[in-house]
Subunit: 247 residues, 2 copies
């Protein structure tokens, strides 16, 4: 019996996003943004703090990149602009303090993450692939206690086709043997599919506006959706089964 | 004729620091720091701005890491503290603007750097190894026009024995075939010698206080000092010559 040739390779490497996939992140930003709203309300009750901050963050993204330091600088800029320079420096000092608090906070893991990673690590090479501020991300990983579970860590300034291609090439990983797992369709799914690798989307309950992407714009095949990381090992088992007789 | 066995391997990989080795950096910080002194003099004529800023930077280093965003946040903190919160927000907005200017400035290469790299690149694999803010460093490299000359780029949050060991291991480079070139004894020379690799020190005319290290603390062998990068190719020629008959 002759099987048709099928393009099938076992998955050997699982790439995992960090922020809002392994540990809580966006909620930390949201809490601080709520404090900024409260603080600015005392000076400019009618201002749309969220809209102005979002606009400032987007304007600064090309200069600052992602992360807490960028966020802190954009909060200070927003506070000065919305109050037309009338905010006292002591209030800006409070904002500086919020940034430091965010940088020092314990890394709070999502439920079941550690057990799920240990299970996956027995069968696959695990690679942490996060974007953002290098120092902040390394510090978060260290505080997470998960560092020992990863074969490698890649912190990139932006997650796009080029940066994923670079990571895979540098490590000699073929797209067909790689699956990327994360909460962002824009950063963890779309560019990976474009490279011919597979992806798993595990949504987080809050998504930063910048990470939104219409689902219709994605290919219909090659990616999966799960509710929690704990389900990943079983999904990979399913994917791994070669289709009998090919297709 | 039998030669004694000598531990000698040809150098195949040259690691190069970026800031103040390939392009001007510390002078940019010094210029901005001078502007901060002038601005704060109007509010607190007797304050020692340099000392307070240095102290603030060191205190924040473990939270912020290196780079322009960290520097900007520390300048704002210094300005608020030294004026006891009396500085108007409009002056802090000026400081924010300095940070953005630094992030957008063209990358100004040191004399002869491009020609020297092209010459070296014909005989060695060139690796850019810089520390600092990921986004800022990538952006500087892009603006420098030098990116195409490097086989790889490694941006680390701190240059120490562990981070160099990681870079060499990840790329399968043996310490004996590696030489690191940079302006900082602390970051580019000392940790590299500890790994058993060689190093070349090319001092820059300004050194950030944090990078100072007493020269007596370094091993006496295994490193060299040059005045400019243009001399490196010839030095490597000299190093490469196996000693006749071994030793």
């Amino acid at each position: 019996m002759k099987h048709p040739i099928i393009e099938w390779m076992p998955i050997t490497v699982v790439g995992l996003d960090g922020d809002d996939t392994l540990w809580h992140n966006e909620t930390r930003f949201n809490v601080t943004q709520g404090e900024l709203r409260d603080l600015l309300r005392r000076h400019v009750p009618d201002a749309d703090v969220d809209a102005h901050l979002a606009e400032t963050e987007m304007k600064n993204l090309g200069m600052y990149g992602y992360g807490v330091k960028a966020f802190t600088l954009s909060m200070i800029e927003t506070a000065i602009e919305l109050t037309h320079g009338k905010i006292p420096a002591s209030d800006l000092e409070v904002i500086l303090g919020w940034g430091k608090r965010m940088l020092m906070e314990p890394t709070e893991l999502l439920d079941g993450v550690e057990a799920a990673l240990k299970e996956l690590g027995r069968r696959y090479d695990l690679l942490l692939i996060t974007k953002g501020d290098l120092f902040d991300q390394e510090s978060k990983l260290a505080r997470s206690g998960l560092a020992g579970l990863f074969l490698g860590v890649e912190i990139v300034s932006e997650k796009n086709v080029d940066s994923y291609r670079g990571v895979l090439a540098r490590r000699g990983i073929k797209p067909l043997e790689f699956v990327m797992v994360g909460n962002s369709l824009r950063s963890d799914v779309a560019p990976v599919l474009e490279l011919g690798a597979r992806a798993v989307h595990i949504p987080y309950h809050v998504t930063w506006h910048h990470e939104h992407v219409p689902e219709e714009s994605l290919p219909r095949e090659g990616w999966y959706r799960l509710t929690t990381l704990s389900e990943l090992a079983r999904l990979l088992d399913e994917i791994e089964k070669p289709v009998a007789g090919g297709r």
